[in-house]
């Protein structure tokens, strides 16, 4: 039998079909270019690359950026001026922010928001105006280019922003000092109005990403069960996931949601959603939902695991031990893709260690096969 390509393995697992070997990948944005990644890719590690499929344009909104050293080093104030008034966000940009990772250290892929866009009750009306006056234009070049570059080595995903309440909560209001919850208690009607407008606005984005040439659509949700309580999830997230998936599924595409937080408390609610791929699941110790339970609870979903960075900090033996346990919990190894990291760059040593195990994982996975891999390594 001809061995599958790395791309075919990922596609098969994500279609819930059996691949010849367990697909394992590295995210392009976290990958160092050099001898180790070359060796790991030669030994079966695939690539996943998430790129945008749209360009956003704002009408009647003037955006200015200002650096004032008195606000602190690296602080940039971005002001959005509208006929309804102005709002601003203060970003802390460390050296290398926004650059390709080969030009920087791992840190500060995105800037920290030191001051959030929404701080006062009057900010809601202005932000709502900005959303109402934002439109999206398809731009498939980044996807087409990535597909050309990646070829049979992996898959390309169309990136979308967080769904409306995740965006309002995590990016615009922020959870620092419990601000989102306090606003949600005090200014519920304003939050709900902004949510409705943003939900409507994002329909165009779902259409554009759905029609793109990407393999999948990826939503950078960063879902965290500690932050999003079950009542909030039911009220604001499930309806949006249903709409998002309905539109994107209508174009024959599967949707991946980046869920790298603690999901145990939301697992049964997540099971009810039409999400296809739970991307970046972090089993314990970083997350709180074990691998076997996630596969059992989400029987109709595919899981792309994010290998927990905390394990890397414990050394090579811990990485091996954790990987074997992870594989045991995933028997027979279907509906599963393992990513080397969804958080950081991974050291050459760990990349090679993980590859030396995962390259040997023929499917279906059995206890005996795992024991044999272990023996082969010692």
């Amino acid at each position: 039998m001809v061995a599958m390509t790395r791309r075919e393995r990922i596609l098969a697992a994500t279609r819930k079909e059996r691949a010849d070997r367990l697909p394992f990948i590295h995210w392009w944005r976290h990958m160092q270019t050099g001898w180790a990644e070359r060796e790991c890719r030669n030994r079966g590690m695939g690539l996943a690359w998430a790129r945008p499929s749209h360009v956003a344009r704002m009408r009647n909104v003037v955006v200015t950026e200002e650096k004032d050293p008195s606000r602190g080093p690296g602080i940039v104030r971005i002001t959005y001026s509208t006929p309804k008034g102005a709002v601003y966000v203060d970003e802390k940009r460390e050296p290398g922010t926004g650059e390709w990772h080969a030009n920087r250290s791992w840190m500060d892929v995105t800037p920290w928001h030191v001051k959030r866009l929404i701080r006062e009750p009057q900010d809601y009306e202005i932000v709502q105006y900005i959303v109402e006056n934002t439109e999206y234009v398809p731009d498939y070049f980044p996807i087409e280019q990535a597909k050309d570059w990646v070829g049979d080595e992996g898959v390309v995903l169309a990136v979308l922003p967080k769904t409306p309440m995740a965006r309002i909560m995590i990016e615009w209001i922020g959870s620092e000092e419990g601000r989102f919850y306090i606003h949600h208690k005090k200014y519920r009607d304003r939050i709900d109005a902004l949510y409705q407008v943003l939900s409507q606005n994002m329909e165009a984005l779902y259409e554009i990403a759905g029609k793109s040439p990407a393999d999948y659509v990826w939503i950078g949700e960063n879902l965290e069960g500690l932050l999003v309580s079950p009542p909030l999830f039911e009220k604001y997230f499930i309806p949006e996931y249903e709409k998002c998936c309905r539109i994107i599924h209508g174009h024959g595409k599967k949707v991946a949601f980046h869920m790298d937080g603690r999901l145990n408390i939301l697992k049964h609610l997540i099971a009810q959603t039409p999400i296809d791929i739970i991307e970046a699941l972090h089993p314990p110790p970083m997350g709180d939902l074990p691998m076997d339970e996630a596969l059992r609870v989400w029987r109709d979903k595919v899981i792309w695991v994010g290998f927990p960075g905390a394990i890397y900090s414990l050394g090579t033996e811990a990485v091996k031990e954790y990987t074997f346990n992870l594989l045991r919990a995933a028997i027979p190894g279907e509906r599963l893709v393992i990513a080397m990291s969804t958080e950081n760059l991974v050291s050459n040593e760990h990349l090679i260690t993980l590859t030396s195990i995962l390259e040997k994982v023929d499917l279906p996975l059995t206890e005996e096969k795992i024991d044999n891999i272990r023996k082969a390594l010692t």
Binding site: M107, I182, G287, A310, E343, N344
Partner: protein, 219 residues
């Protein structure tokens, strides 16, 4: 029901209902009626926060309720606080908490701070992205029984070890317990850096703090 009991009940209900307007009204009326501010705190607000903390721990309430309750209590304390001065409130156990430098995550830190406040601790929250030196200076100034350090990112976790080393160098380490928290924290890591306890679970962390202060009292 006496007048005093009625005012205290109104305060407690306002907090249990997490109602900002009711809290403001109840606190203003209680103080205007000459209710002992110490009783307002110890017999109304603190017991209500304990109930809310218990509901959080049992899974009936979630983080939003816990945070909002803490904020409603703060609203009440802003009115009652000035009347407390000179009333001889017994100081609580001091607890300093911070998210270490380079890290802006504060969910777990906020839960621990809120729950410990509800348990009577005097919590000094330094916020997020706090430099090592600032933490050590705060310990030096306030002499807390416990220091809590939080980090979510694996790359900022070493700052927790650096803080402990700096405490040692300043001769402060033996005078307090250090608890570390964050989703990447493991007991091994806690031991390795010289912390007294490491936890990924805020409730577990709070229980550990309670054990420490109970043991200290028993000595």
């Amino acid at each position: 029901m006496t007048d005093e009991a009625r005012y205290l009940k109104a305060l407690k209900e306002a907090l249990l209902e997490m109602d900002y307007d009711k809290m403001k009204k109840a606190a203003e009326e209680a103080m205007a009626a000459g209710i002992d501010p110490l009783k307002a705190v110890t017999e109304a607000l603190s017991p209500a926060m304990v109930v809310i903390g218990e509901k959080f721990q049992s899974g009936e309430y979630y983080l939003p309720e816990l945070i909002v309750a803490g904020d409603v209590m703060k609203e009440g304390m802003e009115i009652i606080g000035p009347y407390l001065r000179g009333k001889g409130r017994e100081p609580g156990h001091k607890f300093v908490i911070a998210t270490v430098e380079g890290d802006n995550h504060d969910i777990g830190k906020n839960i621990v701070g809120t729950l410990l406040s509800a348990r009577g601790f005097d919590v000094i929250d330094l916020g997020v992205n706090v430099p090592v030196q600032k933490i050590v200076e705060t310990v030096q100034e306030h002499r807390p029984e416990i220091l809590g350090l939080s980090a979510l990112l694996t790359v900022t976790m070493p700052k927790m070890g650096e803080t402990i080393q700096t405490l040692k160098a300043a001769g402060l380490r033996d005078q307090l317990k250090v608890i570390i928290g964050g989703s990447s924290v493991t007991p091994e890591f806690a031991r390795e850096i010289g912390a007294d306890h490491g936890s990924t679970d805020a409730v577990d962390g709070v229980e550990k703090c309670m054990q420490w202060v109970s043991a200290a009292k028993g000595r």
